[in-house]
Symmetry: none
Subunit: 125 residues, 2 copies
DNA sequence: AAGATTGTATGATAAGATTCATACAATCTC
DNA sequence: GAGATTGTATGAATCTTATCATACAATCTT
């Protein structure tokens, strides 16, 4: 289940906030493959935001291969990971995304890398 | 010392990225109270960004009471040290979040950690 | 005092983001 | 098939971001 979307008045464009929050929910597993996303209109109304703005966020998610939209049905978490992409490219993409999160949180990449290695059970080299 | 500032093409306004990165550096202790910030012009030139944009980021930081600017002298970290609360806990939270994303993407934590190290190693000046 | 450095300011311009209003198209339910 | 739901699309208006060019003011160095 998708935790309630929230908007902050911190200069980050609304559609970026929506895109990142939903992408996070998908990556985190809160929204599993095939799960239905809230309707664009639902999001627009609940957040008092324009339908076009929500559409932009959803379109960006589709662009990233995270969701698929079907007219008349709704929007769903995409089933497969993009197959045409090489694995190393996927890793780089994830790393770039994560790097942005880390910077926003004021965490250096080295700090995060170390914390991840710690989580994985191995000690740093 | 302030770690190299970087910009990402992810829809977040440049001045917001600069503001958040510098605020993070201050909160993290990379920039201690009284320390001098890089010149607005230095930042503008090194990142190929307009002086006005950098000024906007700095003005936002001054608005938040994080830095003070003195004409002719430079910009400095404000004296009242910002409350850096439980930093290691923040890092662990971020790491857990990111770990979930990596797992959803089929990327091992070690692979991601290495990719992050790579990103951090070739940071632009 | 002179020159260089640094922050401050402005006005024009272009691109991006957001809203409003409205309409159409595909899908589902009855 | 009729009606409701949902995604798709457009065009205008407004505000925000970012750039460019230029200039001024305070401070420091010499």
């Amino acid at each position: 289940m998708l935790r309630a979307l929230t908007l902050q008045d911190n200069g980050v464009p609304i559609y970026v906030q929506l895109r990142d929050q939903i992408a996070g929910a998908i990556g985190r597993g809160d929204l599993k493959a095939g799960a239905r996303l809230p309707t664009m209109r639902e999001v627009a109304v609940s957040l008092a935001v324009d339908l076009n703005t929500v559409q932009r966020a959803y379109a960006a998610l589709e662009e990233d291969g995270l969701v698929t939209m079907v007219q008349g049905r709704g929007s769903f978490v995409a089933d497969p990971a993009p197959p045409s992409r090489s694995r190393s490219a996927e890793i780089r993409t994830l790393a770039a995304k994560v790097a942005a999160q880390a910077q926003a949180a004021g965490v250096s990449l080295d700090e995060l890398a170390e914390a991840l290695r710690h989580l994985s059970g191995r000690a740093a080299p």
